[in-house]
């Protein structure tokens, strides 16, 4: 749905601009620096191409934590930089209703008092497993810590599709550049 050619073109254009800006093609940088510069441009470009989503904002925020990258990002993204950079306030604490929390605690204590071992097994075990994995997913998806369950799944979906597009475009770029080198 969103993996249109225009999306990929926008991404490619931004990425190549990023390469230029970060001077990725010069020989002055080491291999690692070049790789990081390329990755930076690629990530910034995909976030830019996607527009305003939670993960793209989180991504830009994470990238701009490094001071060096900030300048590059600013010039690359231009206006969008301020838009993309944590307008949500990045609150790590999800606002939770006290009433519900209190009731939840009460139910938990009630359950403990009842102490039925069999009932604990199925549902609570499944919940614990799922919770563990959700935590892992939160670390994977940029900006994931401040999201609750639903939006996390939404953002994961979005993020996975954008990653696919990113991989696709980068692979083509690589292929064509390699092919051109083979001509030489």
């Amino acid at each position: 749905m969103q993996l249109t050619s225009s999306f990929k073109l926008v991404f490619l254009k931004q990425m190549l601009r990023g390469f230029l800006l970060s001077d990725a093609s010069s020989n002055s940088m080491s291999f690692h620096e070049r790789k990081n510069a390329i990755k930076l441009s690629a990530d910034a470009a995909i976030a830019f191409a996607r527009g305003r989503t939670r993960w793209s904002q989180g991504l830009i925020t994470n990238l701009s934590k490094n001071e060096k990258n900030k300048e590059i990002l600013k010039s690359l993204l231009g206006r969008e930089y301020d838009n993309l950079r944590k307008p949500c306030g990045n609150s790590l604490k999800i606002p939770r209703s006290k009433k519900i929390l209190r009731r939840c605690l009460r139910m938990c204590s009630r359950r403990k008092k009842a102490g039925r071992a069999q009932h604990i097994c199925k549902s609570i075990l499944a919940k614990a497993l799922a919770k563990k994995r959700i935590q892992v997913l939160k670390k994977l998806v940029p900006g994931g810590e401040s999201m609750d369950g639903f939006s996390l799944l939404d953002e994961t979906l979005d993020y996975a599709m954008s990653l696919k597009a990113q991989v696709d475009v980068m692979r083509r770029l690589l292929k064509t550049s390699k092919a051109s080198l083979n001509i030489k």
Partner: protein
């Protein structure tokens, strides 16, 4: 992200019967109006308006009986009587509340079956997906089939799910993500709130109801993710699906890293400065090419080729500076003709790309180019024959 619930959603229906009576009355009348056209149809397939009784496939009076089952048992009789007087009903409403209604299993089976029907018939696959979900949630309540009051609760739950699937059809365009929320809101058109029954052993307070709605939401999204991640649709269970998703995302991220590393290795020899002029107007080259020919080629025709062309365009300057060996003149000729003509058929457009890929077999003997589409292959054959 949660939309505001309508005030009537059954979270706070603790003992207020007067609005409930009024609403069930209204609903009854709606049911009557729905029943009449549907009874003429005689078809069990759900209509676009979502006839409730047609959905169940039950005779009208049994369906209405189910509805009346939703409230408390005591005011039920009074409600029916109240409801019957203002409007003359052609068919006989069951006044006998304690009459045996069909057993759980058959009723739930029916609901499930018709939800499957609706899944097949519904235009949006998303609602079809979600249709299976009330079906799935039907099966757990089937397992403990206790007697007595819990029986009512089960039918109540199946009814709740049937009602959910009812609003699915009437909201076929709603996307899967929002459908669960929208369906709770649009239920307010027919019902002010969802009659959700608590399962046996669960508290009926707002918290668990909210939790259950939450769980259903999450399940809906998990289904979407399952479709995205390859090979995930056969897996059942939240934890395993999450595993796969995590795996997939990690793989993609690692691929990006790897590709950027390879690009870094290749990179310094490529001159990116010239590409700015090409990519500054990304739609520009497309129109230039099509201008003289008057052929408007929609970029969406070749979605995979557009990016290939963009990348190729940046390498074009390098082509011209290169001394090509005669065996490779052939592809170069095709290039030049393409450039000169300016008007290319949509089939010739990928030609330079294929000639680009032809270099690989010519030089390195690498014949496996992963992104050769069928169209590219035919264009490639044409290039060879030129």
């Amino acid at each position: 992200m949660e939309p505001p619930r309508s005030s009537g959603v059954g979270i706070d229906n603790s003992g207020e019967y007067s609005p409930e009576i009024a609403e069930t009355l209204r609903f009854e009348e709606e049911i009557q109006s729905l029943i009449h056209p549907s009874s003429f149809d005689g078809s069990a397939a759900p209509t676009g308006g979502g006839s409730f009784t047609a959905l169940l496939g039950l005779p009208a009076n049994q369906a209405v009986e189910l509805l009346h089952d939703s409230g408390a048992r005591e005011p039920l009789a009074s409600r029916i009587r109240v409801g019957e007087h203002p409007v003359h009903r052609p068919f006989h409403l069951p006044l006998d509340c304690s009459s045996a209604f069909p057993s759980n299993a058959t009723l739930v089976d029916r609901a499930a079956r018709f939800s499957v029907f609706a899944a097949e018939g519904s235009p949006a696959s998303s609602s079809g997906r979600l249709k299976a979900e009330p079906q799935d949630s039907d099966s757990p309540p089937l397992d403990p089939i206790p007697t007595g009051p819990a029986k009512r609760k089960d039918t109540g739950r199946s009814k709740c799910d049937v009602r959910l699937s009812l609003s699915f059809k009437s909201q076929a365009k709603v996307t899967a993500k929002k459908s669960k929320n929208a369906e709770e809101n649009t239920d307010g058109d027919k019902l002010p709130y969802v009659h959700v029954r608590a399962r046996r052993g669960q508290a009926t307070d707002n918290h668990s109801l909210a939790e259950r709605a939450r769980r259903e939401k999450i399940n809906a999204r998990m289904k979407l993710l399952q479709e995205l991640v390859p090979g995930c649709s056969k897996i059942t269970g939240t934890a395993l699906v999450l595993d796969e998703i995590i795996n997939h995302v990690q793989t993609l991220q690692r691929q990006v890293e790897f590709l950027s590393m390879r690009l870094a290795a290749v990179n310094p020899r490529i001159d990116f400065s010239s590409l700015d002029s090409y990519l500054s107007a990304e739609c520009g080259p497309v129109t230039v090419r099509n201008g003289p020919g008057g052929v408007v080629v929609d970029p969406s025709l070749w979605p995979t080729d557009a990016t290939a062309e963009a990348t190729r365009r940046l390498l074009v300057p390098q082509f011209w500076h290169i001394d090509l060996v005669p065996p490779q003149l052939q592809p170069q000729q095709s290039l030049t003709t393409w450039e000169r003509d300016g008007a290319a058929h949509s089939q010739l457009l990928p030609n330079p790309t294929t000639s680009l890929f032809l270099y690989d077999p010519a030089n390195s003997g690498d014949t496996n180019v992963p992104h050769r589409t069928a169209k590219l292959k035919t264009a490639e054959d044409r290039a060879l024959n030129l």
